[in-house]
Structure formats: C-alpha cells, structure tokens
C-alpha cells in the first residue's frame, strides 16, 4: 500500500466534493489509480480524457507511483 496525495481540479473537484485528499492505494500507476477513484466517486470523465501530473510534472499513465507522490488528474483544458 502506498500513501499518496491526490489533487482535483474543475469538474473532478466538483464531483469529488473536495480539492485534495491523502489516501492509501494498491494502484501502481496513475491510470490504475484514476480508474479506482472513478468507480468510487462516479467521475464522468473516462480515463482516456484525463492526463496525470506527479509532483507538478506531466507523466505517462504507466509511470510507477511512489510513496508520498502528489498526483494531479488533469481534465481536458479549455483555456482562454
């Protein structure tokens, strides 16, 4: 089990009802963690529409999670 902190923005933040949480997970990658959280909280965005950042850097969905990582799930952007 890894302990990581997860940050939510925009639609994910609203659907989760909070902007940040610390949790324990058996997921080994951002993709697996998102899928776990999506089922738990009913996120409407499918995983292929979400990118991930770890410790403020964009990462591959298959990157290995490590103890203490700060993970951000990034919905499609629509700036401007």
């Amino acid at each position: 089990m890894l302990s990581v902190s997860v940050y939510y923005f925009a639609i994910l933040r609203e659907q989760r009802g909070l902007g940040q949480e610390t949790l324990s997970t058996t997921a080994m990658t951002p993709a697996a963690l998102y899928e776990e959280l999506r089922l738990l909280h009913g996120f409407t965005l499918p995983s292929e529409r979400v990118r991930a950042a770890i410790n403020d850097t964009f990462v591959l969905s298959t990157t290995s999670l490590r103890e203490g990582d700060r993970i951000v799930f990034i919905p499609p952007v629509a700036g401007g």
């Binding site: 923005f9 979400v50 990118r51 403020d56 700036g79």
Partner: protein
C-alpha cells in the same frame, strides 16, 4: 514574461513591459468573456488553474516561441477566478523587428496556451445552469491511455 494572475489584467501595463525602440512591430491578442458561446447566453465565467504546472507550461511555450520566431519580446498572462462579461481573461503581446514574426509568434503562443495550459473554464448561464467547458481545442486530448504531449 509569463504569469497566471487572479486580479484584473491591465493590458496597458503589460504593453509597457514590451516597449523597446529596437523592435518596430507589436502584435497583441486579447481574449475576454463574451456573452454567447454556442448559442447559450453567458452571464459570467470562472477560470480555475493548476497554477504551478500552468506557469511552468507557459514559460515553456514562450521559450518555444523565442526559438521559432525572430522576436524581441513576448509577454503573456492568463487570469483566474470569477470573471464578468467583458473582463479580460488572457492577453499576449509580441514585439519583433518585422510583422511576420510578431504575427506568427503571437498566434503560436495563444494557440499553445489554449491547448496546453492546465486551466479550466466554467460558464454560468441565465437560469442558473453551469458547465465546465471540457473540450480539447486541437485534435484528440492525450489522456491516460496515450502518451502525454509534453
């Protein structure tokens, strides 16, 4: 210079940061909250940013523009928070010796900002409805099933 700000953007002040008699051309882009989007009446708009990554990505975009175009200066700013109709959400300014580079770089910077900055937009409509505008602005959004684009 690239910034994410929560206070109103003063384009004149940003313009000042670019003043340089060596350059002969300046192109600016301003984007503000407009009243209609795809047929719906917009009352106001909220921008939310993942600020640390947005600033890093913004600086990367400006560095790329400096590599690609013969420009003298580039400044860009994006605002966050709850904006009313007519308020500036984004401003880009580019100075160059020739207008080709100034037009090319300013277009590149705003396009990349809209596509790459982790900033989200929620529209508030008449009647109380709201919507997160969650569409990628160019092609497929690289998601968790794909390689990240940067």
């Amino acid at each position: 210079m690239f910034k994410i700000v929560s206070n109103p953007i003063d384009p004149a002040a940003w313009q000042q940061t670019l003043t340089n008699v060596e350059a002969g051309a300046c192109v600016t882009f301003a984007g503000w909250v407009r009243q209609h989007n795809q047929g719906l009446v917009v009352l106001s708009l909220e921008y939310e940013a993942y600020a640390v990554l947005a600033v890093a990505e913004g600086k990367k975009i400006l560095a790329e523009a400096h590599e690609r175009f013969a420009v003298v200066g580039i400044a860009a700013v994006h605002r966050t928070g709850h904006l009313q109709l007519g308020e500036l959400a984004v401003w880009v300014g580019v100075t160059a010796n020739h207008r080709d580079a100034a037009f090319g770089a300013s277009r590149f910077v705003i396009d990349e900002m809209k596509a790459r900055l982790p900033i989200w937009k929620k529209e508030y409509y008449t009647g109380g409805a709201t919507a997160w505008i969650n569409c990628a602005t160019r092609g497929e959004h690289g998601g968790l099933g794909a390689l990240p684009s940067s």
